[in-house]
């Protein structure tokens, strides 16, 4: 008994097809975006590769006047600020996550979680503003004090502005703290209660349980969380740009003005006029993009395995 498809049936079929097509298109667009970014940045940075080739990565001269460009000072600045911030903020992030997962009751944990979200949601430029006018003067005072302490006149003389690697590291540490704390908290919350109760029943104290049961259980996902936070810190732009001092040379101390890959672009792109200068800055963006994508994919894979285990 074949029935002719009615008008409304056909309309529904068209709608179904359009719907499937829209979903697929959006999904493909999302994947293509990564390729588009790669191609676009690669093509527009060609002039830089033509001039400097692969040694661009480890040349330490960045001189817009003579048009000699090398990424080493920025790569070094990025690594120092990123790992420095991670080193400082990780113990606190672990502490906060443990406090929220095991010590705080619901009445305390909920508001604290809200405040963490608040701190994490503040725009980068706000941190930059605060860093520039509040943190940098403090760092400057510390530099003078430290310079007198070790008896280094050059430090007292040169480093008194406060802008530089140290200010950037401290500011970044604050900025990634809410991010890493909430990621670690997420993994702590999935530790099976039976495991914890088992340890407690054997007479372990709360801290014994945390140290010997919970932390080993979440080791893998904590690593994933920290790698993700590192990725954040490496690419953070505005706050770092405002406090790092746009130094073009390889930094010799933590008090030196420096640049990260991101801050060099933000500081200099609008001033760049020659094609090689522009292409070199785009090349920095390409390096940063590739690093960020790799770090994020690696971290997600670690996190996913952590959950499965």
């Amino acid at each position: 008994m074949a029935v002719q498809p009615s008008h409304s049936d056909r309309r529904e079929l068209v709608r179904e097809r359009a719907f499937t097509a829209a979903g697929l298109t959006a999904a493909i667009a999302l994947v293509t975006t990564i390729v588009l970014f790669l191609v676009q940045l690669f093509v527009t940075s060609r002039a830089s590769r033509a001039a400097f080739g692969l040694p661009f990565l480890w040349r330490s001269e960045w001189n817009p006047v003579t048009e000699q460009f090398g990424a080493l000072p920025m790569v070094v600045g990025t690594l120092i600020t990123g790992f420095g911030a991670l080193l400082i903020s990780t113990p606190f992030a672990l502490g906060i996550a443990i406090f929220l997962a095991d010590y705080a009751g619901k009445k305390v944990a909920e508001p604290v979680k809200y405040l963490i979200g608040l701190l994490g949601g503040l725009p980068s430029v706000i941190f930059g503003l605060w860093g520039l006018f509040v943190l940098v003067p403090l760092v400057s005072k510390f530099e003078v004090w430290f310079g007198k302490l070790v008896g280094s006149e050059s430090l007292v003389a040169s480093g008194t502005t406060g802008v530089g690697l140290l200010a950037a590291i401290l500011l970044l540490a604050i900025m990634i703290l809410p991010f890493s704390a909430s990621l670690i908290l997420e993994s702590l919350l999935v530790v099976p209660t039976e495991l914890k109760e088992g340890a407690l029943a054997l007479g372990a104290t709360k801290w014994d349980t945390i140290q010997n049961v919970e932390l080993p259980y979440v080791r893998r996902s904590t690593v994933g969380a920290l790698v993700l936070s590192l990725g954040r810190a490496l690419g953070e732009t505005m706050a770092v740009t405002m406090v790092i001092g746009n130094g073009m040379r390889l930094p010799h101390s933590l008090f030196d003005p420096a640049n990260t890959l991101a801050s060099a672009i933000a500081n200099q792109f609008l001033e760049a006029t020659s094609p090689v200068y522009i292409a070199s800055l785009v090349q920095l963006a390409l390096i940063l993009f590739v690093i960020a994508i790799i770090i994020n994919i690696v971290a997600r894979i670690i996190l996913r395995r952590g959950v499965q285990q």
């Binding site: 529904e12 179904e16 359009a18 719907f19 499937t20 979903g23 697929l24 959006a26 999904a27 667009a29 999302l30 994947v31 990564i34 970014f37 676009q40 940045l41 606190f92 502490g95 906060i96 406090f99 929220l100 010590y103 604290v112 405040l115 608040l118 701190l119 949601g121 503040l122 725009p123 980068s124 430029v125 706000i126 930059g128 503003l129 605060w130 006018f133 509040v134 703290l177 704390a181 104290t205 709360k206 801290w207 993700l228 954040r232 490496l234 690419g235 732009t237 505005m238 405002m242 991101a262 672009i265 933000a266 792109f269 800055l281 963006a285 993009f289 960020a292 994508i293 994020n296 994919i297």
Partner: protein, 278 residues
């Protein structure tokens, strides 16, 4: 036994202290923004464009308009892509391609904002030979899509499968199940996700530096350079004039207020969804 118990209480105090420290830092930052921001707020600040160089007064109305326009247009461009990508991933959960899409969305969320700015410049501004608010919106849409896709997927996964199965059992097609059952059940959650994503892009500066560029005039035309609050904060904070630096603090206060409002709206909606569920 005493040593173990001592260690226990010591570590307990230590983790509580680290939580306190975070709250203290947040309070200090918010306090500075509030104190320094409120001091210079007045009616002109909200209603006037910046005063000409050297004159006092003036406001950031141009930047407020810009933030609203750029953010809304970015959300308008990004929402369909983000939502449909999210729907696709949620509906094809077990397929390998959906997994790749999800991984790409995660990876794109981690792309540094300055890279998005450079991409926006080389892809749009350099091609059309003009800075414009529209290119800023498109650049921000690249940040908006992955977040929206992930949120949509997560919210859709919360829809009880019994509801969907009931609709399928009645002979509904996939499109109408998704539209009439999943999306309707998850509407508040998806809207909440959209607001959160908007709160995120409204505070972005780096993607605007080389696209919207900034403007001293009140501008409504998306094809022309335009200012925005984060951009204005950055420019004023880096200027040597104390009067402009003060305005940077006030603009920061307004921006934080705007973001808090968006986040509050998002939280409120989510709370309602959870209440309905319970």
């Amino acid at each position: 036994m005493t040593l173990r118990k001592l260690k226990n209480s010591f570590m307990g105090a230590l983790v509580a202290a680290s939580a306190l420290l975070l709250i203290a830092v947040l309070v200090v930052i918010m306090w500075h923004i509030f104190i320094s921001g409120v001091k210079y707020l007045n009616w002109d600040f909200f209603t006037k464009a910046p005063a000409p160089m050297g004159e006092g007064g003036g406001g950031v109305f141009n930047a407020i308009v810009g933030t609203f326009l750029i953010t809304l247009v970015a959300a308008a461009i990004g929402t369909p892509f983000g939502m449909f990508a999210g729907i696709y991933v949620a509906e094809h959960r077990s397929q390998r391609f959906a997994d790749i899409v999800r991984l790409c969305a995660d990876a794109l969320q981690g792309v540094p904002s300055i890279v998005i700015g450079i991409f926006g410049y080389t892809f749009l501004v350099a091609r059309f030979r003009s800075y414009s608010a529209l290119s800023a919106s498109i650049a921000l849409a690249f940040m908006f899509v992955p977040t929206t896709a992930r949120v949509t997927e997560e919210v859709l996964n919360l829809v009880p499968s019994g509801l969907k199965e009931a609709a399928y059992a009645l002979g509904a097609r996939r499109s109408s199940v998704v539209w009439n059952v999943s999306i309707k059940t998850a509407a508040a959650g998806i809207t909440s996700g959209l607001l959160t994503s908007m709160a995120r892009i409204a505070g972005e500066t780096a993607p605007l530096l080389f696209t919207a560029f900034g403007s001293r005039y009140i501008e409504w035309n998306m094809l022309r350079p335009m200012s925005a609050l984060p951009l204005q904060i950055y420019i004023y904070a880096s200027s040597p004039y104390p009067a402009l630096q003060q305005q940077a603090w006030s603009a920061a206060f307004v921006l934080v207020l705007l973001i808090l409002l968006l986040q509050y709206g998002a939280k409120h909606l989510i709370a309602r969804v959870l209440r309905v569920k319970a």
